[in-house]
């Protein structure tokens, strides 16, 4: 197999064979090919290879491509925007921020209370135990207002509460039966008034 060491000429061959060279470059390559059998052979192979690929390529129906592009563009366009009220109605009631926050708080408190509850002697009424163990102004005392959920001063963290206080808190949570009693009075959902973003 013949070999040529002129890298510049070898790099120029594909463009020369396919007629992409400038006139001056083409003249230089042509002169080289006249005296270099290796490059002449390579140029012939490149020409054949280009022909093989061209013959193997099926003709393409550009009209079908354009139709597909148009269809894709049409489907990507936003349809008539839905009214804001429709959008709001489709929101799940439990996905509102206040309800999610309340649910998360309950989960945290309940999970922290489990070890304490496990340690309570059988048959002990937590509410009775709370009354027994807490004075009126005991820190962290649970207070219950009519119609309101028990609130406990957790400023010092759950670690400052006694077992009885935690039990009392747990009882209050049990009384909730695992659900939030009522919807918040108002749910502030953002109105979507920018249809172009839909």
């Amino acid at each position: 197999m013949r070999v040529c060491d002129d890298d510049t000429m070898q790099d120029a061959l594909p463009d020369y064979v396919q007629g992409r060279c400038a006139d001056e470059t083409a003249a230089v390559v042509r002169a080289h090919l006249a005296s270099c059998a290796a490059c002449a052979e390579e140029a012939e192979l490149i020409a054949h290879a280009g022909e093989v690929i061209a013959r193997a390529t099926p003709s393409i129906a550009t009209t079908r491509i354009l139709a597909a592009v148009d269809a894709a563009r049409a489907s990507a366009r936003p349809a008539t925007p839905a009214p804001a009220s429709t959008v709001i109605r489709t929101r799940r009631w439990w996905a509102s921020r206040p309800i999610m926050a309340a649910a998360a708080s309950i989960l945290v408190v309940v999970s922290l209370s489990v070890p304490t509850r496990r340690g309570t002697p059988a048959g002990t009424n937590p509410e009775v135990a709370l009354e027994r163990s807490m004075g009126a102004d005991a820190p962290g005392r649970a207070t219950t207002a009519p119609g309101a959920v028990t609130s406990v001063d957790l400023a010092g963290g759950l670690a400052t509460l006694s077992s009885a206080q935690l039990e009392a808190l747990l009882s209050e949570l049990d009384a909730l039966e695992g659900t939030v009693r009522a919807e918040p009075a108002t749910i502030a959902l953002p109105l979507i008034d920018t249809p172009e973003l839909l």
């Binding site: 290879a49 690929i53 390529t57 129906a61 079908r64 491509i65 592009v69 990507a76």
Partner: protein
């Protein structure tokens, strides 16, 4: 009669893209006419002759959908080749999932490559065709982009996610391999 569309062969791809974005459907037509055959040749070189039209179509659909991300500092045609390569790989991947067959990475396997099988009467061209079948997929891709599309190595590197130096080596290895096989076949 003069050209009423204002689109000629001198109109740049960037200008056509701007016109298409402004709602000129003829600009899309001009872009497809200009580049569809090149993309088809590249797809064939990737060994997907049977699905060429489908893959070329997907390439243009994907390109026009993402045309807002096209940066005019690279050539539109080079960008199309990059998308075509991605489209072909995505199709192969989804096909593999369907068949639940695990294969090696494309670059590491010499696939059966019958895309160039055609009625080629000339004996020399038959030898070249057979020789090209023995190239690795990466060599074929580099060879096609360099020979038939005239891409410089820097742009081939962009399309294939490689370096210009590596692409140059792949090209010369491909030429050497074709030469050797044709020489062997001629003896």
């Amino acid at each position: 009669m003069g050209d009423t569309t204002g689109i000629t062969s001198e109109t740049t791809d960037a200008a056509l893209i701007t016109r298409w974005l402004a709602g000129d459907q003829r600009a899309a037509s001009a872009l497809v006419d200009r580049h569809a055959t090149s993309v088809a040749r590249f797809v064939v070189s990737l060994g997907e002759r049977d699905r060429t039209e489908e893959l070329v179509q997907d390439t243009f659909v994907r390109a026009f959908r993402a045309i807002g991300t096209f940066r005019s500092d690279s050539l539109f045609r080079t960008w199309l080749f990059t998308i075509a390569k991605r489209v072909v790989l995505d199709h192969r991947q989804s096909e593999r999932r369907r068949r639940e067959v695990v294969e090696l990475q494309d670059d590491h396997v010499v696939t059966s490559y019958d895309a160039l099988d055609g009625v080629i009467g000339d004996e020399r061209m038959q030898q070249v065709r057979v020789a090209m079948q023995g190239l690795t997929p990466l060599q074929r891709e580099v060879f096609t982009l360099r020979v038939t599309e005239g891409l410089p190595y820097e742009e081939i590197a962009q399309v294939l996610g490689s370096s210009a130096g590596a692409c140059r080596v792949h090209y010369h290895n491909a030429v050497k391999a074709i030469k050797e096989r044709v020489t062997d076949a001629s003896v």
